[in-house]
Amino acid sequence: MFEGLSSRFEGILKRVRGKGRLSEQDVEEFLAELRVALLEADVHLSVVRSFRDRVRERAVGVEVSGALNPGQQVVKIVLDELTGVLGGETHRLTFAARPPTVILLAGLQGSGKTTTAAKLARLLKAQGRNPLLVGADLQRPAAVEQLRTLGGRIDVPVFSEATDPVEVARAGLAEARRLGRDVVVCDTAGRLAIDDDLMAEVAEVSAVLEPDHTFLVVDAMTGQDAVNVAEAFHARLELDAVVLTKLDGDARGGAALSVREVVGRPIAYASTGEGLEDFDVFHPDRLASRILGMGDVETLIEKAEETFEQEKAEAAAARLMEGTFTLDDFLEQLKALRKMGPISNIMGMVPGMAQQMKDVDTEVDERRIDRIEGIINSMTPAERADPDVIDGSRRSRIAAGSGTQPGEINQLVRQFREMRKMMKQMGRGPGRKAAKARGGKKGRKGRGGRTTDGGPVLVDKKKGLSLPGLGDLPAGLGGPGGGLSAD
């Protein structure tokens, strides 16, 4: 339970990795898992339904495009939709032109209203405001006492009196004006049940206060009932936003998602700890991944998007197979490779390579790649397409242009030729079959960057050539002993 979707997504990814397209059945399986994950995160059933429908609509028939395979694309669709449901942008508190700005907090008992009132006041104070806390919860024994204690801790005045909530609200407002406080945060009583008495009381307080903002305080651990509560409050008070409390445990906060979707009000703040400072403006996108427990998956997508465009690389790899690979392609691969980080890191991802890398001065390696780039950049397009045309005078020109020695150019061209020849052989050689089988079944491309197994080179006619952990790149670049060795 609660292991989140990450592991499930991984399973899905495994199933669809080799596919160019997601079938309806693939998507249905995925959606079934999604449903369970959302329900376990306490997202309301009705929201789960509509959410599932939207994802289904976008996901069926998704094809390979760009850097993402179908599985990854579906994950991305889910994240997109989830962030959308949570209210894409961050809520901003506006202040009344004529102070005080009045904020009313409502919610069930135990949702954390009183603590929220103090936390909000603290945050406002830190932003340079002068809040006044008003304690209109005269129901719960010691609620006002609690507010006074908290107010004392954050050095914010607290107003309350033993009359009735409406009177407290009225007097509290007058007190704020008298003291010149520019924000009023009013705590109200929560009851055990949503009943008419409670609603009438809160509505009366609201009528007196005429709040600029009415926030519903919702416990992140709330289950399916959150929607009923929110609807009931919204019907009477016209909520502006929701404050989500107790998001510091492992509660997924699915309730918040439901409230946002059903009542259409954003989450303004979230409380993430017991300390009064553990409270901040809410960022929707962060909850999205929390709900799905898929920080990993998100990273995975980012990584896939960051790295080079797969198709381009694959096309180059295909040309490599056919022996029409050019120095331009080579340069492209080099650049893509470097985008992924320092060579030593990338090499470290390749099994068996980390050990070898220990003996190699990687800084030298980096500098050598710089030089190779310089050499290729100094070539004309014709030279890059066919290095065989490079004669003595061209060599001198390139060397001068790139600040290298003619001998280095010779070396590069020779290595490039060898590599091309070798790849051409591999492309049709006996090794291909075995490699293809591995590429189709076990290629870990879907995991972007985190590849850990597989042989040194995987070949697939359609997908081209890929070196696990390195994306696609010519074998000659493989590292020590290859075309780029530092010696």
């Binding site: 055990l192 289950g223 009923n228 997924r252």
Partner: protein
């Protein structure tokens, strides 16, 4: 009088779904899905809902539907039967036997621990037991004040420490105080805590140990769970059980529209029985848990009173 009928409640998605379940004239795949949905809306959780529906299907397949009822109602009857069986057959009495006995109340913030202790104090005092309250929630501002008000109402002594004091020492003092007066029972409050904070959970384990350092014996550790709690309730229960050897659940706030279905999963999964249910704000609204009553309440279809 059923649990539900004590208070009126809003019509909700759950009631709508139940109405659909009941109205079914024939049992087909859609009925099972409706039934599953209803259970999910009651916070029973996916795994438990699936199991329950599978069991009901099995029984209906084997024995057919109860005679003389509409298909939907019949399915519901079978489900109730399955649920009562699952929840039944456990001892729900609150154990005594120490001198004094200590009942420790644990749970996350805001579930109603202090209120539960207050109500129980009144009940036990009325039953003629001599008791002492221990205000072990030294973290929440004014928690001790709140408990003191309850102590006052029930006319029982309370031992409290300074705000921020070590909760174990407060509980220890309460036990000592009770032992000195020859009291039967100590009801000890603890700070609500987030169950994923291991240091706080360690503190709870310490409270439990220290409570038994003197004359006292912890005979009950009651985890207080709010009826609105969703699937996280199961995780909570597991964590608290690990830290403090939970012996029972107190389900509070069952008077809202929340169903408290998570306790089905908790008992199913962890074998921790629900012992008490809070069904209202009144001091008498803390009652023994009765599976049949609970299941009836779980399925009470519509607005009462």
């Amino acid at each position: 009088m059923g649990l539900r009928s004590r208070l009126g409640r809003a019509r909700d998605a759950w009631a709508d779904r139940m109405a659909v379940v009941r109205a079914a004239e024939v049992v087909d795949d859609a009925s099972w899905e409706d039934l599953s949905d209803a259970l999910l809306l009651a916070d029973v959780g996916v795994a438990t809902a699936d199991e329950l529906v599978a069991e009901v299907r099995r029984r209906v397949g084997r024995d057919g539907l109860p005679d003389g009822e509409r298909a939907g109602d019949g399915v519901l009857e079978v489900l109730k039967e399955v649920l009562v069986e699952r929840l039944g057959g456990v001892d729900r009495s609150l154990a005594l036997g120490g001198s004094p006995s200590v009942w420790l109340f644990v749970g996350v913030n805001g579930v109603g621990k202090t209120t539960t202790i207050g109500k129980l104090a009144r009940r036990e005092a009325d039953a003629g037991r001599s008791l002492v309250l221990g205000a072990g929630d030294t973290f929440r501002a004014a928690a001790a004040d709140q408990l003191a008000m309850w102590a006052d109402r029930a006319d029982v002594p309370i031992v409290r420490g300074a705000e921020g004091a070590d909760p174990s020492s407060v509980v220890f003092d309460a036990v000592e105080h009770a032992a000195a007066r020859g009291a039967d029972l100590v009801l000890a409050d603890t700070a609500g805590r987030v169950h994923t904070r291991s240091n706080l959970m360690d503190e709870l384990a310490k409270v439990r140990r220290v409570a038994e350092k003197g004359a006292g014996t912890v005979t009950e550790t009651l985890l207080v769970v709010d009826a609105t709690t969703g699937q996280n309730g199961l995780v909570q229960a597991r964590q608290f059980a690990e830290a403090a050897e939970v012996t029972g659940i107190v389900l509070t706030k069952l008077d809202g529209s929340a169903r408290g279905g998570i306790v089905v999963a908790v008992q199913d999964d962890l074998g921790i029985p629900v012992k008490l249910v809070g069904v209202g704000e009144g001091v008498d609204d803390l009652v023994e848990f009765d599976p049949a009553d609970f299941v009836d309440a779980l399925f009470a279809a519509d607005v009462a009173a």
